[in-house]
């Protein structure tokens, strides 16, 4: 009994940092929005929002675009997630990279690339003109489809991650079973795989919906005045410093709208996943049924109905080509905006033109020679390093604090992961309002704190997954061999956590380096992060200079991913080598 209570104290001590962080840097800022939104002439403010045609249109546009983008993302990502969940070896690695690299690239960069693709003189128009399919450029930019396209592109990685975790758990034999029972491949897929993946679909849809609801970068770059989105208006209010209270009211409106739609989506998902938590099984009288059933009927066999259109050749063809064709299209869609940055950034022209009239390195020279860009990069690096250290330390303490058998693990984990379920723009708004009072706006500390809150859940997920993959008996073994709790951590838990910590550290660095929303809200004149500077650059003048910065950011991402892969694969290879070599002599 006495020991048990002691353990609870240790737990509290370990969990204190994360709960303090969430309380002061997450919950309080969010609540700071409320008094701001409802202070003063609140009635007039909300009447203005809900009565004016302008704002009602904005709300409707926001929900519509978000739903369109979410639905499209789901349809486009599902096959990719399925293929990734079934892939092994090199294929799994390549598909994983296909999803990971865009995920780790700044949303700002990925959205900007669409300017170079869809612009008047962009890639698409240039190609169509050259092919002679059109005689003058199509107005592709500054339209709703352009915004949706960019949002879908930005959302694919997150959707794939959400789906893969669930799809991976589906036993492949269940599909074989469906085939032996007479289901055609497509039928088996929609009847078995999709229903089994319902939890993944649910979480993916909600994550993507919240993400798209809160995005302001895509509509600001690619949309037009007629279809502004809520988050865009909030950002504009804060940037122009016009009306905090109105911005807060818009933030509340966004949250409430998002909550209503998410609840609706969840209840739909609950309907479709009702098999996962069935109530008490209904009682039938089996005896009676058995007696009534005529077993003779089982002696005759039931043939599959003759297919109305039965084209073996077509089926064989589609079986062979559907997957590669789909993979080719989706890879081009995912990679094109990343690849197009490189030729554009080496352009010799002063404006974004594709294909560039000539090539030069002038934009890179200009960036590297500009003290503003260099200092922005250094600022981002400093912030990334600080956020990374804070995230790692908090994640380790949290994981150890939860331990293996924590009665309230579910609830506590939900709290810890809460920052993932709040639209980033709402948190950024709250952070701006709250930090402004304590003088943290436009300081590196403020951005570091905000980044830690936003990125911590991701790092926690990685570290906690590693922790739960460690055999729980190891710490018991270690204790039985004479190690006290601290030495158990130092000699067993920590070394085994290291791979997860390394991945978590890389993720934290990259995510902080690329994070745009909080950076744009919280930095202004004195502290400029790279994303903030890029945002300004693209807003005021879409020159190849921004493309060059984007290309460099992308290059950094690729480099980090490659280094990470080499380290991970290198470790595996080492293990293999020692396995093959004969046992060596003692050192």
């Amino acid at each position: 009994m006495r020991r048990n209570r002691l353990i609870e104290w240790q737990r509290l001590l370990l969990l204190a940092p994360v709960f303090l962080l969430l309380l002061f840097a997450f919950a309080l800022p969010l609540f700071a929005i409320v008094p701001e939104a409802f202070g003063g002439d609140a009635v007039g403010r909300f009447l203005l929002i809900f009565q004016s045609v302008v704002y009602r249109t904005v709300i409707w546009t926001t929900v519509r675009i978000s739903l369109e983008a979410t639905a499209l993302t789901l349809i486009v990502s599902f096959p990719l997630a399925w293929l990734l969940s079934r892939a092994t070896g090199a294929k799994a690695l390549l598909l994983g990279l296909l999803v990971l690299v865009p995920f780790l690239t700044s949303v700002l960069v990925r959205t900007f690339a669409w300017l170079a693709i869809l612009g008047q003189r962009g890639l698409v128009n240039a190609t169509l003109l050259t092919l002679g399919l059109i005689s003058e450029p199509l107005p592709l930019l500054f339209s709703e489809p352009a915004v949706v396209l960019a949002l879908v592109h930005a959302s694919i990685p997150m959707m794939v991650f959400a789906l893969v975790t669930v799809l991976r758990r589906i036993d492949g034999r269940i599909l074989l079973a469906a085939h032996t029972l007479g289901a055609k491949p497509v039928r088996a897929w929609f009847g078995i795989v999709v229903p089994l993946a319902i939890r993944g679909i649910q979480s993916g849809v909600i994550i993507i919906f919240l993400f798209t609801m809160a995005s302001f970068i895509a509509p600001a770059f690619l949309g037009n005045q007629r279809q502004q989105m809520l988050a865009q208006m909030i950002q504009a209010q804060i940037e122009t410093g016009a009306d905090w209270r109105f911005a807060a009211a818009l933030g509340v409106t966004l949250s409430v709208t998002a909550t209503i739609v998410v609840l609706a989506l969840s209840s739909v998902a609950r309907y479709f996943s009702r098999w996962q938590n069935p109530g008490l099984s209904p009682t039938t009288a089996p005896q009676q049924l058995v007696q009534q059933a005529d077993r003779e009927i089982l002696r005759t066999s039931v043939a599959l109905p003759r297919s109305h259109f039965h084209l073996p050749a077509l089926r064989r063809l589609s079986a062979r080509w559907v997957e590669p064709a789909y993979l080719a299209v989706i890879s081009i869609f995912i990679l094109l905006p990343l690849i197009v940055l490189f030729p554009v950034s080496f352009s010799s022209a002063d404006v974004l033109i594709f294909p560039p009239p000539g090539y030069s390195v002038r934009w890179f020279e200009k960036i590297l020679g500009s003290p503003e860009w260099v200092s922005a990069a250094l600022t981002s690096l400093r912030i990334g390093a600080a956020a990374c250290v804070l995230c790692l330390a908090t994640a380790i303490l949290t994981v150890l604090g939860f331990g293996r058998h924590f009665r309230f693990q579910g609830a506590a984990e939900a709290i810890v992961l809460a920052p993932l379920s709040v639209p980033a723009v709402v948190f950024a708004l709250g952070a701006y309002l709250a930090f402004a009072r304590v003088g943290l706006v436009d300081t590196e500390t403020g951005i570091v704190v905000a980044h830690t809150v936003l990125i911590f859940p991701v790092v926690y997920l990685v570290v906690s997954a590693t922790y739960s993959s460690i055999d729980p008996w190891l710490s018991l073994a270690s204790a039985s061999l004479g190690a006290n709790p601290w030495r158990i951590f130092r000699t067993v838990t920590f070394p085994l956590l290291l791979p997860g910590l390394a991945v978590g550290a890389l993720l934290a660095m990259l995510l902080s380096f690329d994070e745009s929303v909080a950076s744009i809200f919280l930095s202004d004149l004195s502290v400029k992060t790279l994303p903030r500077k890029l945002w300004e650059g693209i807003r005021f003048n879409t020159s190849p200079e921004s493309a060059a910065v984007s290309a460099m950011l992308l290059g950094v991402t690729c480099l980090v991913v490659i280094v990470g892969m080499v380290v991970v694969l290198g470790r595996r290879k080492n293990a293999l080598l020692t396995l093959q070599s004969a046992p060596e002599a003692l050192p």
């Binding site: 055999d471 004479g482 085994l496 060596e584």
Partner: protein, 362 residues
């Protein structure tokens, strides 16, 4: 300081509850120094809980656990000086075999030279000196098992706890490891507590066996006694094959009557009782050959014959409807003619039956 006469381990009225469920209830058990004790039970019987209590990973709800006469309630696991071999070995995957074995020595601040000597000795003890630089993932199941054993022995613990250590090994390897274990126990004279559900392993190695079911310790005795004189129905069924027959006591418990035949008991038993008959003690002969000389013999019908290689297992139905198992060796007279439906006479020696209190009357 340690009194050699005190039991190495003793459980005194130990009960462990998780919520309302008692995983272990009212266990009293003394294990002497140098003993090889097997704790036998099916999964969920509470045997692993008992082991966790002894190793200090959990503390009893009621009662005390003593080691060499001293209560260990306040001793944390890392100070208990118990070597534990876990079911899945729990080798540290990031350390080599030698480093795994050296781990408990490092925790105890043992100097480098003594550490080397002890690691070498321990690895030599389990015949693994040539794999010292291998990582656990590079070792086979049997080798991992031996590293785990070396690691648990290297610091000279008072007690070696083993939790289903041979469960994951195939049969041949298991037999081999049993020999290794017995040899090592003889060499070091250490107290071994061996938790398992494998009755043949327990029989082969242990000095004494404790049978657990439903969190209770049902019987503690040496293997021969457990087999020949089980104390209740569960133990009788758990160890080996047997038939438990309902009989009517005669002569004030000095004998019994079954299916019209009477037999006396070597020593009188308290009524009412059932008898346990092991298949190998039953002999059968065809009914026509059975001389009606008044000797003990039960009329029975063959229901089923299973060929086992060395002989046959025969399921019989007695004239009063009870079933009886007999095992017939190759070469016995009746062997060639066994077929379902054959009327036979079954016999057994008076001393070969064990008496059990009838279930529910206890």
């Amino acid at each position: 300081m340690r009194d050699k006469s005190l039991p190495a381990v003793s459980f005194q009225d130990v009960t462990k509850r998780y919520g309302l469920v008692a995983a272990v209830s009212g266990v009293n058990l003394d294990i002497s120094r140098g003993e090889f004790f097997a704790l036998l039970g099916s999964s969920g019987s509470g045997k692993t809980t008992l082991l966790m209590l002894l190793a200090g990973f959990d503390s009893p709800t009621e009662g005390r656990v003593l080691m060499s006469g001293t209560s260990v309630s306040d001793v944390p696991p890392h100070r208990r000086q118990i070597g534990v071999v876990f079911q899945n070995y729990a080798l540290f995957p990031h350390l080599t075999a030698a480093d795994n074995v050296a781990y408990p020595l490092k925790m105890r601040g043992v100097g480098r030279s003594e550490r080397e000597a002890r690691v070498n000795a321990a690895l030599g003890l389990v015949n693994l000196s040539d794999r010292r630089s291998s990582y656990p993932s590079q070792l086979s199941g049997g080798q991992q098992q031996r590293v785990a054993l070396a690691r648990a022995l290297v610091f000279g613990p008072d007690i070696l706890l083993m939790d289903e250590p041979l469960g994951a090994l195939d049969r041949r390897l298991r037999d081999q490891m049993q020999l290794v274990l017995k040899r090592i126990q003889g060499e070091l004279g250490i107290t071994v507590i061996y938790v398992t559900h494998d009755q043949s392993g327990a029989m082969a190695m242990a000095n004494r066996i404790g049978i657990m079911a439903g969190g209770r310790l049902l019987q503690v005795a040496d293997p021969e006694t457990i087999y020949a004189a089980p104390s209740n129905h569960f133990v009788a069924r758990f160890i080996g094959e047997c038939s438990i027959l309902r009989v009517a006591a005669t002569n004030g418990g000095k004998g019994y009557e079954i299916a019209g035949a009477r037999q006396s008991l070597p020593s009188p038993a308290a009524e009412p009782f059932d008898i346990v008959v092991r298949p190998e003690n039953v002999s059968i002969c065809a009914a026509v050959e059975a001389a009606s000389d008044g000797a003990f013999g039960l009329a029975a019908t063959v229901r089923d014959v299973t060929y086992l290689g060395a002989g046959w297992r025969v399921a019989l139905e007695l004239s009063d409807g009870q079933s009886l198992l007999a095992s017939i060796m190759r070469g016995e007279d009746v062997a060639g003619r066994l077929a379902p439906g054959l009327p036979v006479v079954a016999r057994w020696a008076p001393a070969s039956v064990a008496v059990l209190p009838t279930e529910g009357s206890s």
